[in-house]
Symmetry: C2
Subunit: 441 residues, 2 copies
């Protein structure tokens, strides 16, 4: 990535880079649909009241105003603003369309979101998220928490991103453990545990003792819990060995067991119980997911989510949900920066149909129509320049084949990578399967 975005935080890709992004989006779409998720899109805007509903919001929201309008009231809750994630709009969509949806409703949504944050590596002001959620009416079976982990493991495995680790924790497990220990402000404990990676065990212990009111033993036990990471269900034994008892802890252990038990069989090595994960546990109510790219941990989580006991509600109706969100732009920018894959060519065309003279344009269009009718992407030269120049035109774009029509009406096609030129019939010639589409590799 030598190029710099002309507007900081608003990345734009060159055509060959966009092919990589499209590949990522197509792969996610395919996987989500194989798992039965239906697609929706929501509008880019919400009312400010809707976006700021949860009070204090740490996302920087972009407000909208018609330039032609008089000065508008920034604090008007009905004024519009750009959504900063896909969860808030989805929750609204569910409530508004509940009568038209079949619950549990499983949907995926891949759209841009905007945040007025200061851009930095892996952080953008405009970026694409790919979300999957299952939402129930009244209740939602826990098996969906398991299924979502498996779906995401499937989706990420299909992407050209190398190894990843989906790390799972559970709010009930953590809260039950802290309560069992006698710590009555689990949120405060979680906020301290969340700093582990940054400031280390001893500093976290100090916060727990000085600010949260823990004893040294309680602090050590909380840190011992956070040290547990297993790729199988042995975390249960390790937690039990810490000797803490609480009903909520039992529920949480059982839930996390179900996720890890299924995942260790179906996606071995990909999904891990990680009891240090605290981020998100303050607003999720059960399972919580985070994902790191192995070798790219500094990128932060590329896919996060969890279970909400109430994703949305209206009157007496409550809609619990569980979901995950993939940071597509963050992933794609890393794939491009590290050149993990690249596009085979800069254009979709697999054949460039040359012109012997300007009068042969119609004949060339006949060839092109015949190829296109059989699903072969091609373009026709715009004028009868020297063949060398026409071949160079194709070559610059990475188009592998050039087509020639002779004066006698016979055709030849040349692979400009090998120089091999053969007689061909526009109604039957087919390129090798690996050349047909502009793939990434």
């Amino acid at each position: 990535m030598a190029r710099k975005a002309s507007l900081s935080g608003f990345p734009e890709w060159l055509p060959a880079e966009r092919v990589v992004e499209q590949h990522v989006l197509d792969t996610l779409r395919r996987t989500f649909e194989l798992h039965g998720f239906a697609n929706i899109e929501t509008r880019a805007v919400e009312t400010r009241g809707q976006l700021l509903r949860k009070g204090e919001i740490d996302k920087e929201v972009y407000g909208l105003s018609r330039l032609a309008a008089e000065n508008e009231d920034k604090h008007d809750p009905n004024a519009l603003a750009l959504h900063f994630d896909l969860t808030v709009p989805f929750a609204r969509y569910v409530v508004e369309n509940a009568g038209h949806l079949a619950f549990p409703f499983r949907r995926y949504q891949m759209q841009k979101v905007w945040r007025g944050e200061r851009p930095q590596d892996g952080r953008f002001r405009e970026f694409t998220q790919a979300d999957i959620d299952v939402v129930g009416e009244g209740t939602l079976a826990f098996s969906y928490d398991v299924e979502l982990a498996l779906t995401i493991a499937d989706a990420l495995s299909a992407l050209p991103i190398g190894d990843f680790r989906l790390r799972v924790n559970n709010r009930k497990l953590a809260e039950g453990f802290y309560r069992g220990l006698g710590l009555e402000d689990p949120d405060a404990v979680l906020r301290a545990i969340d700093k582990l990676e940054k400031i280390g065990n001893e500093a976290v212990a100090t916060i727990l003792i000085d600010e949260v009111g823990a004893t040294r033993e309680q602090a050590d036990a909380a840190l011992a819990l956070a040290a547990i990471r297993t790729l199988d269900t042995s975390f249960v034994e390790q937690v039990r060995a810490l000797g803490v008892e609480h009903e909520l802890l039992d529920t949480g252990l059982d839930e996390l067991f179900q996720v890890i038990d299924a995942a260790s069989k179906r996606a071995p090595g990909k999904v891990m119980a990680d009891l240090s994960i605290a981020r998100g546990l303050d607003y999720y109510t059960g399972t919580v997911y985070e994902t790191v790219l192995v070798g790219h941990e500094s990128l932060g989580s590329i896919c996060s989510g969890g279970r909400y006991e109430s994703l949305a509600s209206k009157g007496k109706k409550n809609y619990p949900g569980v979901g995950l969100s993939i940071g597509v732009t963050r992933l794609v920018s890393r794939i491009l920066a590290e050149e993990l894959v690249s596009a085979a060519r800069t254009v979709p065309s697999v054949v460039y149909v040359t012109l012997a003279d300007d009068d042969s344009w119609h004949q060339a269009q006949d060839v092109a129509a015949s190829l296109r009718g059989r699903g072969i992407a091609c373009e026709v030269a715009s004028s009868a320049e020297k063949f060398g120049k026409q071949i160079k035109f194709a070559d610059r774009r990475g188009i592998p084949f050039v087509w020639f029509t002779q004066e006698d009406g016979t055709h030849e096609v040349k692979d400009i990578r090998t120089g091999e030129q053969i007689t061909a019939d526009p109604s039957s010639w087919t390129p090798p399967a690996e050349d047909l589409y502009n793939t990434v590799n």
Copy 2:
């Protein structure tokens, strides 16, 4: 469409409606790529200076401001605003990335745009456009004007929208004709001619005489020109018969001839020379396109565009272009309102894997993994309710097949439309091709 958007002018589709929109977008993508167009996306925002560059703008622009920021200056040209079309951003993208692009550069772009206009039938505040353009560096062969008409005819023919008419005119033809007549303000004549459909011949003649300074004969000749509409190249003869001579008229006639000559052969009945088209002729410099859906003329143009002698420029570099823009949301909303097509089901799943008891969840996941591995979308029941209830779950979503695993490990699959139930093997059973994807028909 019984539902109303909860925010006027910001349509949102239900999952089955989104399938129709996806079908339209996929079809356009496929066609554009068969014709060699590469995809790009540009950021949703531009600087206000960029958007308002052409001075007076008739589009209602949405400005952006960070809600957390102090009051910002509405007139700061570096402040951000949402793009109102894809042409302005594309022109900027071309100039910024010229060194990385191969010209002539052919691209398609399908994105949302925003306009703060008053919403009405077929007019939205947020809507999707699908644009194709070819842009050259310095020069751009006229054959691209022909090619674009053919590409669009191909694309629209592939959509479930019934019959359409791509109407083509040419700025040089009109301007040359008016100048040949002795009318020296062609823009004023065009503005009058643009009112033809609304106010009729006599009222337009009055404007031409009273406001543009035409004689009765000049006005009649201008109206005679505007009356010419042909599906073949006979318009040339009809224009010639009006007896007007001008060099620019000759050029324009030749250009329009090339478009209609090729189109009448390759897309017979779809493309028409229509010399009444005036809208757009004031900013396009040659070919101009408009498209109506036959039987839905009130919808207005669903696809418009034309040739720019200068789509963009920087220093001494000039980038001519020719392109068209399809109003995807306008089309989709009409397809949905008229129920021209609909989705086969509301979810991608073709199979619903039932549970005999809760312990069989893992076994059911094995079945699902096997089906998915062969490209068959499916979902697994979340709990072992009565079979009748599980079948109803599938039926409500339009999922055609339900899968049963017997206690002895054998499998059966039932087509719930016909009731037929057969023995099946998860590693080889395949649904009929027409059921595999959630198609529209």
